[in-house]
């Protein structure tokens, strides 16, 4: 199938190196410590963060927990999604490990951080959106982090590296890489794929994904700054 037309357009009208539309709304859940609804294209995720004290737990650092789930209405088939199946357990783990890499857990001893992520609408690249949402929710909750982890995916179809595949492109079965980075520290915290790709092409795809992550990071930073300004305004200082 033709995923990139000879004119250089993808099925949804993007060029190979273009991102999908990103939107974030901070404070979607009022009783959470931090929350966000994060959208990249038609993929939409809600994330909520709760922090509580748990003295009986490990003493010198915070405990991070994560629960990932998909809403029954998130895909077209409206099927009841099983809770705690292998895939969601795996994604929960991936998000938890990625977040642990940037949360400064030693600053919050004897506390437990619960991250809840739910996919409201799935249209490819849910992993990346979940990680970005979790980052924003954590930032909203005011949890100390060494950097804002951001994530983006990139694939390789029709001999072209493509940034952030949507569902149709994703189901073509080509290689798809989910990359998570710490943009300021320039470190990779996540790299996942289930396909093979020769190393020289991989480098291009990886580079593209990293560019994508940085673009997401810029956007997230803007959103946070905007949010902070509003908070400042409300406080009236």
């Amino acid at each position: 199938m033709e995923f990139v037309s000879p004119e250089g357009f993808r099925l949804d009208g993007r060029r190979p190196m273009e991102m999908r539309q990103i939107r974030a709304e901070i404070g979607a859940v009022a009783n959470a410590d931090g929350s966000v609804v994060f959208e990249m294209g038609n993929t939409k995720v809600i994330a909520a963060v709760y922090v509580q004290n748990r003295s009986q737990q490990i003493n010198d650092q915070a405990l991070v927990r994560c629960e990932y789930s998909m809403a029954n209405f998130s895909t077209g088939d409206h099927m009841r999604k099983p809770k705690g199946d292998r895939q969601s357990t795996e994604i929960s783990l991936v998000i938890r490990q990625t977040m642990e890499a940037c949360i400064m857990t030693n600053l919050m001893p004897r506390s437990q951080i619960d991250i809840f992520v739910q996919v409201l609408q799935a249209d490819g690249g849910t992993r990346s959106v979940c990680i970005n949402a979790a980052t924003l929710a954590l930032a909203d909750a005011g949890i100390p982090m060494c950097d804002l982890v951001t994530s983006c995916s990139a694939g390789y179809l029709n001999s072209t590296p493509l940034l952030y595949l949507n569902y149709v492109e994703d189901s073509a079965g080509g290689p798809d890489f989910t990359v998570g980075i710490l943009p300021k520290l320039d470190k990779v915290t996540l790299l996942q794929t289930d396909a093979k790709l020769p190393i020289d092409m991989f480098e291009n795809v990886m580079q593209l994904a990293i560019e994508g992550c940085k673009a997401v990071a810029n956007y997230i930073r803007e959103v946070l700054q905007e949010n902070t300004k509003q908070l400042e305004c409300r406080r009236g200082t």
Binding site: M17, E18, A215
Partner: protein, 936 residues
């Protein structure tokens, strides 16, 4: 530029679920006119002085693609909405229009109107997709009009009356194709036009009969919804229609749902389906399942009959014979166990253009006017096609190409339109061209992009090659090549050195084509497409450009050449002790022909080192061959013929059977060994993506005709395994020396052909090569003329760590499609070679009526099929005069004995019997020569 400009959601209705996709609109799509001062003109494709820009609607592109391909049409903007619709409706037209758009000599520009901010159109409530697309086309035309201003006329070409009316209302100039072509003032173009169907345009004088008088000949095709429902509940069966090459009134649909082939008899049951169409079939009630009507050679309805043709070389080419054994064995009350059916609908058409000529007809009184003529395809599987032409007098003695447009229920024949003329019928060049076109062979010269990939000439081994540590210098070794006389594309050479320990070092050196053909270059793409070189009697169509084929890659004598070598150490008993693969550099000391090599080996006085090498190799080859045969490899025979061609006129001077010598077998043996070694090596390194070659075991049904013939002459063949078959073929010795060969030829045509495949697609048991009785096989030894070998070279080089594996091997579907294309090209090349021989046979016998000996190979009710060993051809001999069906009773066919007897028992002919025949070229109709065989 990571953000899209604005954002609109497009909703597509699936079956049940609603799917929502993003659709980004943008403002960086340019109009493609170089004189536009708003847009970026870097990617502009239209001519700089275009006064009129054409925009076609979908139906025009779909129907009039032949017209668009004519260079008279230029400065065209193809809208992406049109492309999308064309792609969904007809992929072959889509590929053609895409080729036009990427052709740099044509001025076709693709405007992505669907992604443009100003030309995107959202479907209105209640608007059908068709209307929406028509509106999108008009909006785009309007945009062009406003964008380019008054200096340029934007002309919308549409045959849809509604669309044209609306366009004119909106101020866009619009015309129908007919009036547009007429305005160009080139009458020749008018023939290219597809005749509008009577629904489209209100002309009813298409045929002289009034519609009410016209008889409905065919039943209506069922609507798609009914077909889908029928397929679902098992009333209908889906499959690809294959028309019998030797009897166009009989076709087969291989149906998976009933696991058998459904036979379709007659044009009415075929219901306007063409060969290759995907059809829906309904089974007829069992009492209507026909008895074998195909036992007679000629046909009822039409004046067509079986032609003289070359001997088929495998089951794929052979005429399909239903096996009456099943029917007759069951007793008198069974009708036939073969299901027959009728076609109720066509799921997918396989219409393309066809080569042939017009049926001879008297010239109409008024010349120059429009005349209707019947076109007869050269390939008999296709029905006659009715066309309309203004140049009848010109076309009558020409080979022409015609495309099919439609076939309605009222007309016996489909209607089509003229595409182009090839040349005069019977002319050698024309007929060769026809052979090429019919087999879809690209014989155009290589483009400049392809030629620019060649290394500069004159080429010689460079110091870089010498310094390359991966390349072994084997120039000191006595390497030689053995090929057919006059061979210029020498892709294999050999060496054989006696080692001090009594063993032999044997090397097979193959031209290092991949050193020059790099993946992803235009040269490589072209070679992928061509797939193989094609050998016709008088010319060769190369897969790679001539400098590579005949010079740089060709392992000629006394020049240094790059090679890819397989070197074995073998014991004198031809046991392989070690195998080594390496890129190398060689200098061949002799390019021998088979005859020369044979003569050297036979001449006991010659004791020079080269001859000794040859003899050693031959001894080894004999051992290897014997071992292979013991393992169960089949020695099959084919009746290959060789022409002697006049160097001046290129007409054939003499024909005779191709003689196979020991030297041929010697070279073949080492090539087989090299291929097998390479197959094992690449599969070991790349289990999921190796290109291998397999030969499926023939099924019982396929061997049935062979067994029946053998049984009739009292011969028992064991076909349980290839080994058993090989042994029983060895035992089949009759009184005359040719008997064994004849049986082998008959066996060969029962086999299917070997095919290329991607190793990831099949399980290892299926890799088996039946004919060679080898578990693994591939093609490595002819990279100059076969693309499969190029692929295998790359795999082997990658397994040795010389190159990286090209990206394409990561993409299994693509590798599979390459393998499929190679099979297709390979088969077409073979068909073309055979057809070329047939053309030359006809030319040869035109001046030389000949009497010769022939063998009966098949019995029919009104005659038999004979095989002429001397010329390798096969054809019908009639016992009863044609048309004399009623009196056919005097000849009786004995199925069991495979005999045809005169009713009074005075004369009888049995299968494999020798008869004397007379061969002569006759012209029953002007310009239609054919070879006729008559009994003496």
């Amino acid at each position: 530029m990571l953000q899209s400009k604005s954002f609109v959601r497009k909703t597509k209705q699936g079956k049940v679920i609603k799917v929502v996709r993003e659709h980004y609109l943008r403002d960086d799509i340019y109009c493609g006119a170089p004189f536009c001062n708003i847009c970026d003109s870097k990617s502009a494709r239209l001519s700089s002085s275009a006064s009129t820009i054409l925009i076609f609607d979908t139906n025009v592109v779909l129907n009039q693609i032949d017209l668009l391909e004519n260079p008279a049409i230029d400065d065209v903007v193809i809208l992406s909405v049109v492309l999308e619709e064309v792609k969904n409706k007809n992929l072959s037209v889509y590929n053609r229009i895409r080729a036009l758009c990427s052709n740099s000599t044509r001025k076709f520009f693709v405007f992505s109107n669907e992604y443009h901010r100003d030309t995107y159109v959202k479907a209105m409530v209640g608007e059908s997709p068709n209307d929406r697309n028509d509106r999108a086309i008009r909006v785009a035309a309007q945009w062009y009009k406003n964008h380019l201003g008054d200096a340029t006329r934007v002309l919308l070409i549409t045959n849809d009356r509604e669309n044209k009316r609306k366009a004119t209302e909106e101020g866009i100039s619009a015309e129908t194709v007919e009036s547009f072509v007429k305005s160009l003032g080139q009458p020749g173009l008018l023939d290219l036009l597809v005749q509008p169907r009577s629904e489209d345009v209100g002309m009813e004088e298409v045929e002289d009969l009034r519609p009410s008088k016209r008889k409905i000949l065919y039943t209506e095709h069922k609507p798609m919804s009914e077909i889908t429902a029928g397929l679902h509940c098992g009333i209908f069966h889906q499959g690809k229609l294959r028309v019998n090459r030797y009897n166009p009134f009989e076709a087969y649909v291989g149906s998976e749902s009933i696991g058998d082939e459904i036979i379709i008899y007659g044009r009415v049951n075929m219901n306007r389906a063409f060969d290759g169409d995907i059809v829906a079939v309904e089974l007829l009630p069992q009492d209507q399942w026909h008895e074998e009507k195909s036992l007679s050679i000629a046909d009822e309805e039409d004046e067509e009959e079986e032609d003289v043709h070359l001997v088929p070389s495998s089951a794929d080419d052979a005429p399909r014979v239903p096996n009456p054994a099943q029917g007759s064995a069951g007793g008198a009350n069974t009708v036939s166990s073969r299901p027959s059916g009728r076609i109720v609908g066509i799921i997918k058409r396989n219409w393309h253009s066809y080569c042939g000529s017009l049926e001879p007809m008297p010239m109409p009184a008024g010349t120059g006017g429009v005349a209707y003529a019947l076109f007869v395809s050269k390939d008999r599987r296709f029905p006659k096609i009715r066309i309309q032409t203004r140049q009848l007098g010109n076309l009558l003695d020409k080979r022409i190409i015609v495309a099919v447009d439609s076939w309605d229920r009222l007309s016996r024949y489909p209607s089509g339109h003229y595409v182009r003329t090839i040349g005069v019928i019977g002319d050698r060049e024309t007929e060769s061209e026809v052979v090429l076109i019919e087999n879809d062979i690209d014989s155009r010269p290589f483009t400049s992009q392809v030629l620019s990939c060649l290394p500069p000439l004159p080429w010689s081994v460079s110091s870089e090659d010498l310094a390359n540590p991966m390349r072994q210098d084997l120039r000191h070794i006595r390497v030689f090549s053995v090929d057919p006389p006059g061979c210029k594309d020498i892709d294999d050479a050999l060496h054989c050195t006696a080692l001090p320990n009594g063993n032999f070092e044997v090397g097979v050196h193959i031209a290092d084509v991949t050193n020059f053909v790099h993946p992803g270059t235009p040269l490589d793409d072209e070679a992928t497409q061509r797939g193989t070189s094609v050998y016709l009697v008088e010319r060769r169509i190369d897969m790679l450009p001539k400098p590579l084929t005949e010079d740089i890659c060709s392992l000629r004598a006394d020049v240094e050449r790059l090679a890819f070598s397989v070197v074995w150490e073998m014991t004198p008993e031809a046991e392989i002790i070690s195998t080594r693969f390496t890129k190398s550099m060689i200098k061949s000391c002799a390019a021998l022909s088979y005859v020369e090599a044979q003569a050297r080996m036979d001449d006991s006085r010659l004791m020079d080192p080269l001859t000794t090498d040859l003899r050693n190799m031959n001894a080894l080859a004999k051992v290897m061959r014997q071992r292979r045969i013991d393992r169960g490899a089949l020695t099959l025979a084919s009746a290959e013929v060789k022409f002697q061609i006049d160097t001046e006129t290129h007409d054939p001077l003499d024909i005779g059977m191709y003689q196979i010598r020991e030297a041929n077998q010697m070279v073949e043996e080492f090539m087989l060994a090299a291929n097998i070694s390479v197959a094992a090596k690449i599969l070991e390194h790349f289990p999921p993506c190796s290109l291998l070659r397999r030969h499926p075991s023939p099924t019982k049904e396929m061997l049935e005709p062979l067994l029946r013939t053998a049984a009739a002459v009292g011969l028992h063949l064991d076909v349980s395994t290839s080994k058993a078959l090989a042994d029983s073929l060895d035992c089949a010795v009759g009184d005359d020396p040719y008997f064994n060969k004849l049986i082998r030829i008959l066996a060969t045509r029962c086999m299917t052909q070997a095919v290329y495949f991607c190793s990831g697609d099949l399980s290892p048991q299926e890799f088996y090569h039946y004919g060679l009785s080898a578990p693994l096989y591939t093609h490595f030894t002819s990279p100059i003329r076969r693309y499969a070998d190029v692929v295998v070279h790359r795999l082997l080089a990658a397994s040795l760590g010389i190159y990286k594996l090209p990206a394409i091997f990561q993409d299994r579907p693509q590798l599979t499609s390459i393998a499929d294309n190679l099979n297709y090209r390979h088969r077409n090349a073979q068909m073309a070679s055979r057809a070329s021989v047939e053309v030359h046979t006809l030319i040869y016998f035109r001046k030389r009526p000949t009497d010769t000996e022939a063998r009966i190979v098949k019995i029919r009710s009104n005659g038999f099929i004979v095989f002429v060993p001397k010329y390798g051809i096969e054809g019908p001999v009639y016992l009863t005069a044609r048309g004399d069906k009623g009196g056919g009773g005097e000849w009786l066919v004995d199925e069991q004995q495979q005999k045809v007897k005169k009713s009074d028992g005075s004369i009888s002919y049995g299968v494999l019997q020798t008869v004397r025949i007379h061969m002569e070229v006759v012209e029953p109709q002007p310009n239609r020569p054919k070879l006729q065989l008559t009994l003496m």
